[in-house]
Amino acid sequence: MALAAKGTSARPVGLGLLCRCAAMCVVLLVCASCSEQEPAVRVDLSKRQETAAPAPAVGITYAYLPQYSHTTSYQRHHLLVEYLAKATGLPIRQVFPNTFDEHMKMVAQGQIDISFTNPFVYIRLAKQGARCFARTIKSSGRGEFHSEIICRSDNRALKTLADCRGRRWIAVDPLSAGGYLFALAHFHDLGIERRDFAEIAFAPGPGGKQENVVLAVLAGKYDFGTIREGTLDLLKDRIDLDQIRILARTKAYPEWLFAARKGLDERIVTKIAQAMFALDAANPEHAAILEAAGLKSIIPAQDQDFDPVRQLVHKLELD
């Protein structure tokens, strides 16, 4: 009897629970059917018009020899370009050639008025009529720079430069001073010629060629590489520099310089040169410009300042 009573009393409870479950399901389904509506902006894509590329800007063109990526070149020198434009009142703008060759061609063709270039490229530009009017003093205070021969830290086969014989070499560019020529001269002085290497490759462009050398060595694609000094600092936040070992440093040569193309108005060159020479690290505004460019100051320069490089070219029979 007790069991029967229990069963009788439990029946409505079970049904009630069933009804509540069903109600919950229905509510859930109703809620599911009502999804929130995100507001949309009505746009009629049928109304069209043809677009035209904006006309190229006019003015004095300034170019950084593309040893680094365009963005790096811009980051380093756009303040300087803006300063020069403001200081001289000239419409100076920065342009970005993709390769060393393109840079030289643009200088030769008058598409680049002011070229910030290495000494080796300048020697070639000078042959086309370009002339230097200023050179740089780096943040370290030195007016010269050298090349660094690097390999992987764990590469135990390379202990001296003599071990580089028969190895694969990646350099920045055939026209790169710090990234190729200084090291080539260094090897030459040690009796190691180009034919003694298993391979000499150059970093792909455009831009960022110094960084590419470091990355190629780090990846183990080449046994060693050559870069200009300061390149590793650019990558210190992107790679583990402990994985890179500097095998040797070359002899130092004069730093980069500013050259004006053949035929550029001398008054313009003078204005620009004076504005450059006016940069003072003590001036906070100038200091920001110099710091971005990695420079301490810009000093006047003459063509014969780069004769050591001409001698190097001659020695390597590159002329």
């Binding site: 029946r11 409505p12 049904l15 069933l18 479950c21 069903a22 919950m24 399901c25 859930l28 389904l29 809620c31 599911a32 999804s35 995100e38 507001p39 949309a40 902006v41 009505r42 746009v43 009629d44 894509l45 049928s46 109304k47 069209r48 018009q49 043809e50 677009t51 590329a53 904006p54 190229p56 990526s69 365009h70 963005t71 811009y74 980051q75 756009h78 920065q94 342009v95 970005f96 993709n98 455009p206 831009g207």
Partner: protein
């Protein structure tokens, strides 16, 4: 609700399981679908934002060099890679379109539909009429300077189509799962319901009284086979349908004492692991054991009930059980016989239905007293029945329930009528003993002065002339004094034992001597004497003189019973079976009334007139016979074979002279009375003189 309650158990399980699966599927599918939809949309937005930001970053160099071809290539690659990419285009810092993916012109309204304010990305939902598009606008910034904007259009409708496809797949899977659940639940319900229905059939069999049910199947391997115990005396041995863990008193050394549940040690037992089933199997097995246990208990209970019934019916006591309202719950056979009814007629009725109003009221009051006090009571009651007055020793005790409350009265009554009679006789005997002592003392005190009176009376007769008045008076004194002396002598004989001389004696001779002595006198009183003597009687050890007194007393008593004359028959026989020698003295008198039969051996009991007898003769005879280790009995009317004149062994030659039978109403053939003196064939030595022996 009633419809659901009427559904079969199998249907309930199937439907219930199906509904649960449906509910769970719905409750799971809906939020999961929503979450999946949101996740897909969010992922789509995230992917679009990543593409737009990637485009913005890759555009940096191209923007610096104003390489429109590279820009065009980049935006075209986006539309080529992703099906959901509707468009992509690049604006410079002046808002001019540098590159785009549209054919035949650029949509005019699209440029202003979204704008990346500041340096952060902007996402906006656009409705093109044909579809919904997420528009991503990411500024191209180099060294803090904004060079332009990368714009990307990603179709939300296509992402939603993917969501719908996913939901459709999910829904299809849910439906398939529900169908499978319905099928499996039906199979499961059928299996469970089949076993429960089987249990129901077993229960119905039990209700119908059939306890010989087998609820379990035999096992592939039984416990004694698994354990190889060989303990044939174990209750689980050779019981293939009973699982040993359900049984008590198993002898397996690994078994712990049963605790009502499955023993803990069983869980590790190989027998349990090999043969244990689910709860329904346990229920089925337990049910089977319960049925067999019930059958065994019912059998034992029946035997016990029969035993109790036999005990109750065998006892001569009257036993009945009454409930608190006085209704008979049970009676034994003696009680039913006492009421003269069948047991079935009595059960359920009250005492008022069988007893008089006064008696039933008295009984009800006693019952109430027992119930109220909770104490048992006993008493001796007198009941008038068809057999006359009967005495019962009645004991009434309360019967208590489990709570200790009196719920009825158990009444037992024992017939003590005979005991009461014996008690009365004992009381009479004690009275007579006292009387005998008193009489003996008085006789002793009177004997001496009586002897003096008799002596002086005789002496004085010598001193006075014979024939004179004085002499005549003295003779009267002498004669009455002798009467007194006779009375005193009888009193003394009654009150104390004299010295006996126990010698071998011939009973026939003793009887014949006495008969010879009284034959003449009895003949004068027209009393004939018949002798029927067994010649082969052995001698017994006895006192000739006292036994002669016994015969004399019995003959005188017989003569006195026939005042008008009659016949006396004396018969001696040897009763070999009883080991006694019987001397029967029968008269042809009027006999003794039944009311007097028990008193004839009492001292001073006499039906004769005053002065005709002392009432001590039979009492003295009783004492003498008892002193000889025998007994004396009386029968009235006398059986035919003992009566005077009967053909059985009548020795006519020994009849007294001229004694052809009494002439009067007391002749032979009348019922009369017969006294049997039974003496042991080897008579024991007489008991020393002690307290007088009185008949009981």
């Amino acid at each position: 609700m009633r419809l659901i309650s009427r559904l079969k158990f199998q249907t309930k399980i199937s439907v219930g399981t199906f509904l649960i699966v449906v509910a769970v599927a719905l409750m799971t599918a809906v939020p999961v679908s929503r979450m999946a939809s949101r996740a897909i949309i969010a992922e789509s937005r995230g992917r679009g934002l990543a593409l737009a930001e990637n485009l913005s970053l890759r555009l940096a160099d191209a923007m610096l060099t104003q390489d429109l071809l590279r820009m065009k290539t980049m935006v075209d690659e986006l539309t080529a890679v992703g099906d959901d990419t509707v468009y992509a285009f690049v604006l410079d810092d002046t808002g001019a379109v540098l590159a785009h993916t549209f054919k035949k012109g650029f949509p005019v309204q699209l440029k202003a539909a979204n704008a990346a304010d500041g340096k952060g990305a902007s996402v906006r939902l656009l409705d093109t009429g044909a579809e919904l598009v997420y528009d991503f606008a990411v500024p191209v910034v180099i060294s803090g300077r904004r060079f332009g904007t990368a714009r990307l259009g990603l179709s939300r409708s296509r992402a939603e189509a993917e969501v719908n496809s996913l939901l459709f797949t999910f829904g299809g899977l849910s439906v398939a799962a529900m169908a499978a659940a319905l099928l499996l639940s039906s199979m499961f319900a059928r299996r469970v319901a089949r076993r429960i229905n089987l249990l129901k059939e077993y229960a119905q069999e039990v209700v119908r009284g059939n306890l010989d049910i087998e609820t379990t199947s035999t096992l592939k391997r039984n416990c004694w086979e698994i354990m190889q115990c060989g303990r044939s005396q174990c209750p689980a041995y050779a019981m293939p349908r009973h699982r040993c863990w359900h049984m008590h008193g198993t002898l397996c050394p690994d078994c712990a004492p049963a605790d009502g549940q499955v023993r803990k040690s069983c869980v590790r037992c190989p027998v349990f692991r090999a043969n244990a089933g689910d709860e329904i199997q346990d229920l089925s097995e337990t049910f089977g054991i319960m049925a067999s246990t019930l059958k065994r208990q019912i059998g034992a209970l029946g035997q016990q009930q029969q035993l109790m019934r036999t005990i109750l019916d065998a006892t001569p006591d009257l036993v009945c059980l009454l409930d608190a309202q006085g209704r008979f719950l049970a009676v034994n056979r003696a009680y039913a016989a006492f009421l003269g009814r069948g047991e079935a007629e009595i059960i359920g009725r009250t005492e008022a239905d069988f007893f008089s109003p006064d008696e039933s009221a008295e009984r009800a009051a006693k019952n109430r007293a027992v119930l109220c006090s909770g104490m048992g009571k006993q008493a001796e009651i007198r009941v008038h029945t068809a057999r006359g007055e009967q005495w019962f020793h009645e004991v009434n005790v309360p019967v208590r329930d489990a709570a200790g409350q009196a719920m009825g009265v158990l009444k037992t009554a024992r017939d003590v009528t005979e005991v009461k009679s014996i008690e009365e006789k004992l009381l009479q005997s004690q009275k007579m003993e006292s009387l005998g002592k008193l009489a003996g003392g008085v006789a002793h005190e009177i004997n001496t002065p009586l002897g003096i009176i008799l002596g002086y009376a005789q002496l004085l007769q010598d001193d006075v002339p014979e024939g004179g008045q004085i002499s005549e008076d003295l003779r009267i004194i002498e004669r009455q004094a002798k009467v007194c002396r006779k009375i005193v002598a009888d009193l003394l004989g009654f009150s104390r034992q004299h010295e006996s001389s126990m010698v071998p004696m011939d009973v026939n001779e003793s009887v014949s001597d006495v008969v010879s002595l009284v034959r003449h006198t009895f003949g004068l009183e027209k009393v004939a004497l018949e002798l029927d003597l067994d010649e082969a009687l052995p001698a017994i050890i006895g006192d000739r003189e006292k036994m002669g007194q016994v015969w004399m007393n019995l003959l005188n008593n017989a003569r006195d019973a026939m005042p008008g004359g009659g016949a006396i028959r004396i018969r001696t026989r040897r009763r070999e079976a009883e080991g006694v020698l019987a001397v029967s003295v029968a008269d042809s008198g009027t006999g003794i009334s039944p009311a007097h039969l028990d008193k004839v051996f009492d001292p001073f009991f006499s039906t004769k007139g005053v002065g005709e007898g002392t009432g001590l003769g039979l009492s003295v005879s009783f004492g003498i016979v008892q002193n000889h280790g025998g007994t004396i009995e009386v029968q009235s009317p006398a059986p035919a074979e003992f009566r005077p004149g009967s053909a059985d062994g009548l020795d006519s030659g020994k009849r007294p002279d001229g004694g052809n039978g009494p002439d009067g109403g007391n002749g032979p053939g009348r019922a009369g009375t017969v006294f049997h003196v039974l003496l042991p064939l080897s008579c024991p030595a007489p008991a020393p003189a002690a307290a007088p022996i009185f008949p009981v």
